[in-house]
Amino acid sequence: MTTHSAAASEATEPTTPLAIAIRLPLDRFTLDVDFTTSHRVTGLFGPSGSGKTSVLESIAGLRRATTGRIALGDETWLADAPRRFVRPEHRHIGYVPQDGLLFPHLDVRANLLAGARRARRDGHPLDTTFASVVELLELGPLLARAVTTLSGGERQRVALGRALCSGPRLLLLDEPLAALDIPLRRRVLPFLRRVRDEFRIPMLLVSHDPVEVQALCDDLIVLRQGTIVARGEPSEVLTDPDVFPLAERGGYENVVPCTLVRTDSETSVVRVGTGDDSLSVITPRAAGPEGSNKLLGIPAREVILATTEPEGLSAQNILPSRVVSIRTVGSLRLVRAHLADGVPPLAVEVTEHARDTLHLEPGCVVYLILKTAGCVLYDPEARPDDD
C-alpha cells in the first residue's frame, strides 16, 4: 500500500479517456449524451429521471437499444456502421448500484470474488488486489458473514470491493451512498476517496449530494431530460443558477479543503488555503492529528454577510472576503466570495432585498460570519471505527 498523501498529490493526473456519444429512446424523452473525459472522477448530476442511470447502463452494456459510440482508451465497446456491441461480460466494468446488489446466496468473500475468474484470465494480480481491497475497505472482519446480515454501509463497501476485484478498467458508481443516511454516508465517503487515490481506475459517479460530488469529483456533468445542460469544475457548476436548486435535502453546501491546526476541548481550528491569504476557521471539535487533511463543509444558507467588520458577535468566525460574482437563483441571490487562494469561491445565499440594501456588487469587500456549529468537518480518510 502506498501512502495516501503520495497518491493524493497525483489527484489530477489524467486517466484513460472515456468517450461517449450515445442515443437511447426512453419513455419520456430520448437520451442524447456526448462527452469525453479523462478525469479520475467524473460526476453525473441531475434530477431523478434525467437519464443518469441509463447512461451508466449503456456504458455497462446492459441496454441493447443504445446506439452511437462508447470507447475507453483504444477499446471500442459500442459503434454503429459497422455495428459493434461488446457484451457486458467483456467490457471490464466495475458497477456499483445504489442498493449494492450483492448476491444473497453467497457470503462476503464469495461476493468479493464473484468477478475473480475474469480478473485472473486478464492476468490481473488478483491476490494483491484482493488483499488491498480487504485492507482499504476494512472488510477483513466481514469475510465469512452472510450478506443478509450486513448493515447498509457494509453492503456498499462489499459492493465496491466486488467491483474492484473483478479487474475493472472503469468504475461506474450509481449513487453508491444514496441508500445510506447522512452520517453514515459521511463515514463511507472516505472509502471512496481511498479507492480514487489507490486504484488508477477512471470513475463515473452518479450523485445528488453536493458534498459527495465536491469531495470526489474533478469534473461534473449535469443532465436534464437526457441531455447535458452544464459541465465543469464541481463547485462552479453546482452554484450555476440552473443547477443550484437540484441539490438534495439541506440545500447546497460548500466543501473546502483545509488542514487541522489544533484541537481544543470543544472546538478545532483549521486553516483554509496555503498562500499568504490563508485563514483560520473555528469548527466543532474533530478527531485527528495536527496537520491532517480535512474537508470543511459550510452550508450556503448558514453564512451571514456584513459590509463592515462587526463587533460583539457570538459567532466565532468573521472572515474578510471579496465578492467574486452574484448569481440569481429564483428569488435568491447567490453571492460567491473569494476566501483564500487555491480554494473555490464560497457560495452564500442572500435575499434579493439584502443584496439591494447592502449594495452588494462584484469586487465589494464583505465579512463572512460563520457560527462554529454551522460548519461541519469531514474526514477525507476513514477512521477505523466506521460503522
Binding site: 457484451r87 471490464h92 446488489l101 448476491f103 444473497p104 475474469r118 473483478s166
Partner: protein, 225 residues
C-alpha cells in the same frame, strides 16, 4: 400388504419419478424463457402449457390416445415404427408428465419472476457469460422454488388417474398405479385394501405439499427495490 398393492405403490413412485424428471428439466428452461423474454405468441404458449390444469384428465388422455393411435400424428403408421407406448408404463409416464406440466412450469416461472433481473445483469458486468450467469446466479437463487416445483410435479404425477387410465389402462402388475388400484379396490368392494391405499396416498400427498409450502417461504428471497 398384498403383492398387487405393493406393485401398485412401486409403479406409482416409479412413474411419478420419471415423469417429474421428464417435465422438470425442460419445464424449468421454458419457465425461464417465459419469465425473462418477450416473444411473439408468448401468451398462447403459456396458455397451452397451463391447459392440462383445467381440462378433464380423461380429455387429455383421449387426446393423447388419438395422437398415439395407429393412424394418429404420433402413431406407428405416421412415424414408420411402433414406439410401443400405449398400455405400457411409458404411457403412464406420458400421461402423468402432461398433467404435471402446468404446476411445474407455473411454479418455476413465478420463482424466476421473483428474482431481481438486475442481479443477473450484475453477474454479467462481473464477467460471467449468459450460460454461467444462469447456472451460477439464477439457478442457485431459484433453487428452493425449483425444488418446490419438482415436488408439486411429483405430487400431481402420483395422483394422476384419468389420463393414465385412458392410455395406460389399469393392468395389475404392469400399469396399475396407486390411483387406479384405489379405483379397482373400491369397484370390487375390497374396503380394507381401499382404506390402506387411501392412507398411503394421504401420507405421500401431505409430505409433498408440506415440503413445497416450506420451500416456498424462501428466507433468502432476493430483495427487489
Amino acid at each position: 400388504m398384498s403383492d398387487a398393492t405393493l406393485s401398485a405403490l412401486k409403479m406409482s413412485v416409479f412413474v411419478a419419478s420419471i415423469a417429474t424428471v421428464v417435465v422438470w428439466i425442460p419445464g424449468t428452461l421454458i419457465a425461464y424463457v417465459l419469465a425473462r423474454r418477450e416473444f411473439f405468441g408468448k401468451r398462447v404458449v403459456s396458455t397451452l402449457l397451463l391447459l392440462p390444469m383445467v381440462l378433464p384428465p380423461t380429455a387429455v388422455g383421449y387426446l393423447l390416445l388419438r395422437m398415439l393411435a395407429t393412424d394418429g400424428p404420433l402413431g406407428p403408421r405416421t412415424l414408420g415404427f411402433d414406439p410401443g407406448i400405449l398400455l405400457t408404463w411409458k404411457a403412464a409416464v406420458l400421461a402423468s408428465a402432461v398433467m404435471a406440466t402446468p404446476l411445474v412450469v407455473r411454479t418455476a416461472r413465478v420463482t424466476f419472476e421473483g428474482i431481481d433481473p438486475r442481479l443477473e445483469s450484475m453477474a454479467r458486468t462481473l464477467g460471467h457469460g449468459r450460460l454461467r450467469t444462469f447456472v451460477g446466479t439464477t439457478l442457485p437463487l431459484a433453487s428452493r422454488g425449483l425444488l418446490a416445483a419438482a415436488i408439486l410435479g411429483f405430487t400431481r404425477a402420483i395422483g394422476e388417474f384419468g389420463a393414465t387410465v385412458t392410455i395406460a389402462g389399469n393392468i395389475p402388475g404392469r400399469t396399475q398405479t396407486l390411483a387406479s388400484a384405489i379405483y379397482s379396490a373400491q369397484e370390487t368392494g375390497d374396503q380394507r385394501e381401499a382404506y390402506f391405499l387411501l392412507c398411503v396416498a394421504l401420507v405421500v400427498g401431505f409430505v409433498a405439499i408440506f415440503a413445497s409450502e416450506y420451500l416456498a417461504r424462501n428466507p433468502e428471497r432476493t430483495r427487489t427495490r
